[in-house]
Amino acid sequence: MVDTTYIFLQHYWWFIISLLGALLVFLLFVQGGQTLIYTLGKTDMERTMIVNALGRKWEFTFTTLVTFGGAFFASFPLFYSTSFGGAYWVWMAILFCFVVQAVSYEYRSKPNNFLGPKTFEVFLFINGLFGTVLLGTAVGTFFTGSQFSVAKINLTNISNPVISSWETPWHGLEAALNLHNVALGLAVFFLARVLAILYFMNHINHPEIFARSRKHLLYNAIPFLVFFLTFVIWLFIREGFAVNPTTGDVFMQKHKYLLNLIQMPVVLVLFLGGVVLVLWGIAKSLAKPYTKGIWFTGIGTVLTVLSLFLIAGYNNTAYYPSTFNLQHSLTIFNSSSSKFTLTVMSFVSLLIPFVAAYIWYAWKSINVKKIDEEEMKNETHVY
């Protein structure tokens, strides 16, 4: 018998995961900004303003990443065990990128910091470059697949009970050899830089930084569009990993992801609306001195990424496909937590609007004034 409540919960939690993923990509503007410290800041004071503008937000990106991981673990544990335990190197590389970021803001300007300010700035750059590219590349495998197997019966093999195995010795590095994945990784990288530039234009009160930001907006928007369009067009013309809703069998279907958009009009509207907003924010900021581009491009980013996650998991699609054995692919049905656990967590998720409200209020309270040189001279807690 079909348990519609359970199916609803599985869809609900895929939506939550997608939303967290979308917010994470938006918040990667912190990472993008970290790769622009020396490009946009020519004096110590300018760099200090840039670092502090980012430093007051880095924890949200970090927390969103941690929550994204925790929520994925709780709602789709088979993904957690299969991907993290298999694509070991790519996830470890991402972790290393984020470990070095966490301390860099706090330690960068502190006296006697052992490694020197430059080293911490290099850490920030590493996090900004590799963190974004690798995350994008890893998410690319949601559409291109990975070589893994899952056999729960292995649990009964007492000398080798591991159920998820990566079937290539590269353990995740192979994802970087797939150009489609890399296109998404680079699109995320340049998008993060675009968002960072728009954020600086909005948040730092400094004419030189503003002028330089506008100039570099163009330089980053063009490669972003090239890589994003490459990824999306490729995605729409390629075969996708479809699931037979009756048997649960996974099979290759032409234009699956394009069909998903067409068959889910709401998601299509989200996608098109998102893309338009992203482009609008960029175009308006290029056309004239404009400080509110981050709102359009930021919201557009969230909508676009959300829709991409939704077409990866909804409409009878395997969101984590196995190219080793199609039938081992993960879907929101075969990899989710139990109905009871999803229900418990759904009650907890009702807190999310409340959390969003206090984040909004707190941000508003401390961001009433733009960052300027005066504040950097008077503030007691400066990065």
């Binding site: 924890e59 970090f62 927390t63 941690v66 929550t67 991981g69 925790g70 673990f73 709780a74 088979l78 957690y80 065990s81 993290f84 335990g85 298999g86 070991y88 996830w91 972790l95 470990v99 970021q101 966490a102 301390v103 803001y105 706090e106 330690y107 502190k110 006296p111 006697n112 910091n113 052992f114 490694l115 019966i153 649990l155 000398s159 080798n160 009970p161 591991v162 159920i163 998820s164 990566w166 010795p169 937590s337 139990s338 009871f340 656990t341 418990v344 967590m345 907890v348 807190l351 999310i352 959390v355 206090y358 984040i359 707190a362 941000w363 401390i366 004034k369 007691t380 807690h381 400066v382």
Partner: protein, 520 residues
């Protein structure tokens, strides 16, 4: 037939232990210092005395330096459950993942939102909102500790779950049993209070250094008073929750208790070892005296473990060989099985799962029901089925024993220290006692040693289990090369150590500078 790669298991354990131990260097200070700062800011809010604000901001600076690296090490722990313990992630993810997700939604966002207000909001928000933010940082930090400790406690005492053979995993059926199990409650209270005590000793120790140097005297005296009162209350609470934790260990993890006390042969009216040294090379079934020397309190172990001075406490040998009588969780008297019998029962459970799966594929419902019944009847020993040697259920006894006694000994020393400090503060001239000020500084590393020792007891003492009786560590690992884990182990070691050195240098420099310029 393939075999467990023990090298992989050991390196995976080493990597997790490395991350956890580094993480726990920073977390307890965050837990406690957040409250101490909140108390101090409350005093500022109530009195309007600018000196309290200066004191609060100084400790906040040290908090910020410490917090950043705690965050860095924390993210690794969360993801290592997947990268290094993938089988574990599936087998118990339905239960274990939920606290992690709730931690993110409820605690991390609260912490990271209000920490920004706490650091940058002094001149931007009202005094009241700032104070609220500082309290919410403390609450958020402690809430995050709640959820991860609930998850850890569940591994020590799996409650509120059942095994679902269709999905081949454990599933939650009662959230409140997971959250409020006696092991969870004790573990949470004991662990956070250890953080409070550590933070109190940290504040007292640094303040003592200022007094020795004759600098920042007002800051130091006020800090010592706030931290010592906080420290005394929480260290007494620490002892009480420690007693509660030990009682739970006796009931749920008797092997861990035996290892904590170096008790090889069980007895009625078992004594508690106050100080002792173990005989090197002692085997569980030889006739060597386990102790080179010992000072003990008669009957106390029986009393603490079973609330009766004459109760029987099983030793390592009893638990391996079985045959003693115990009371199960439903209050029934039972004769303990030997480890060998438990391994046999575990194998039956695992085979029953295989047969159940096979019958399901064939659509044989009668056979399914039969094997399901067999599985359920033997499931409590499921994890034993992966073990080959009865001796493998014995943890590292010396490490557990010494860690336990160091932790307990230092815990009582801290209570005495706080009493002495407060007595001198209120009844004598504190600053002239230079020896005591130096002792106060020495207490800081001792607090860290006690704190680490506590986790060694908890985690080494429960080996070979990652989930008590249900999943041994050897069956929980990911299928990766041991060499890959070796590489990441050393990379983590280098990064964590480098960052620790940076943190200590920055911290010492800030302490030397004092609160003059707000900590920049």
């Amino acid at each position: 037939m393939e075999h467990f790669d023990l090298s992989l298991v050991n390196w995976s354990r080493a990597q997790f232990a490395l991350t956890a131990m580094y993480h726990w260097v920073f977390v307890p200070l965050t837990l406690g210092l957040a409250f101490i700062m909140a108390f101090m800011e409350t005093l500022y809010y109530k009195t309007g005395d600018e000196e309290w604000k200066r004191i609060t901001k100084f400790w906040m600076t040290l908090f910020g330096i410490n917090f950043a690296i705690g965050v860095a090490t924390g993210i690794i722990l969360e993801f290592e459950f997947g990268t290094n313990w993938s089988n574990y992630s599936w087998f118990v993810g339905d239960i274990f993942g939920a606290p992690l997700a709730i931690e993110g939604i409820m605690a991390f966002f609260m912490e990271s939102t209000f920490i920004a207000v706490m650091f940058f909001g002094w001149n931007k928000v009202s005094k009241k909102f700032h104070l609220l933010s500082t309290w919410l940082v403390a609450l958020g930090a402690n809430l995050s500790a709640l959820w991860i400790l609930v998850a850890n406690a569940w591994m020590q005492y799996p409650a509120g779950m059942f095994f679902n053979p269709d999905t081949a995993r454990n599933e939650m059926h009662n959230f409140w049993e997971v959250l409020l199990s006696p092991v969870s409650v004790n573990k949470f209270l004991h662990t956070i209070s250890s953080g409070y005590v550590l933070a109190a000793l940290f504040v007292v120790g640094i303040s003592a250094w200022y007094l020795l140097k004759g600098r920042n005297v007002l800051l130091a005296k006020r800090s010592i008073i706030v931290a010592s009162v906080f420290g005394l209350i929480t260290s007494v609470f620490l002892a009480l929750t420690g007693d509660g934790s030990a009682y739970q260990v006796a009931q749920k993890q008797p092997m861990k208790l035996a290892a904590m006390e170096g008790l090889y042969e069980g007895k009625e009216g078992a004594p508690l070892i106050v100080i002792g040294a173990l005989t090197p090379g002692k085997q569980y079934n030889d006739n060597k005296d386990p102790y080179l020397f010992r000072i003990q309190i008669p009957k106390l172990l029986s009393f603490l473990g079973y609330r009766s001075g004459d109760a029987f406490v099983p030793g390592v040998k009893d638990i391996v060989e079985g045959g003693y009588t115990y009371t199960d969780k439903d209050g029934n008297q039972k004769v303990a099985l030997s480890a060998e019998q438990k391994i046999e029962r575990g194998r039956i459970a695992i085979q029953a799962l295989a047969d159940y799966k096979n019958a399901k594929e064939l659509g044989d419902t009668t056979a399914m029901a039969y094997h399901r019944k067999l599985l359920d009847a033997n499931f409590e020993y499921f994890g034993y089925g992966y073990l080959n040697d009865p001796k493998s259920i014995i943890p590292n006894v010396p490490l557990t024993f010494y860690s336990f006694h160091i932790m307990v000994g230092l815990g009582f020393l801290f209570i005495a220290f706080f009493i002495l400090i407060l007595y001198l503060v209120f009844f004598k001239e504190f600053k002239i006692n230079k020896w005591l000020l130096r002792t106060a500084i020495l207490m800081i590393p001792l607090a860290y040693i006690a704190s680490q020792a506590g986790w060694i007891v908890a985690e080494v003492g429960r080996q070979p289990w990652v989930i008590q009786d249900i999943l041994p560590t050897v069956a929980a690992v990911s299928r990766i090369d041991a060499s890959a884990v070796q590489v990441t182990f050393f990379l983590f070691f280098i990064i964590f150590t480098t960052l620790l050195i940076a943190e200590l240098r920055i911290m010492f420099t800030q302490i030397k500078k004092g609160p003059k310029d707000g900590g920049k």
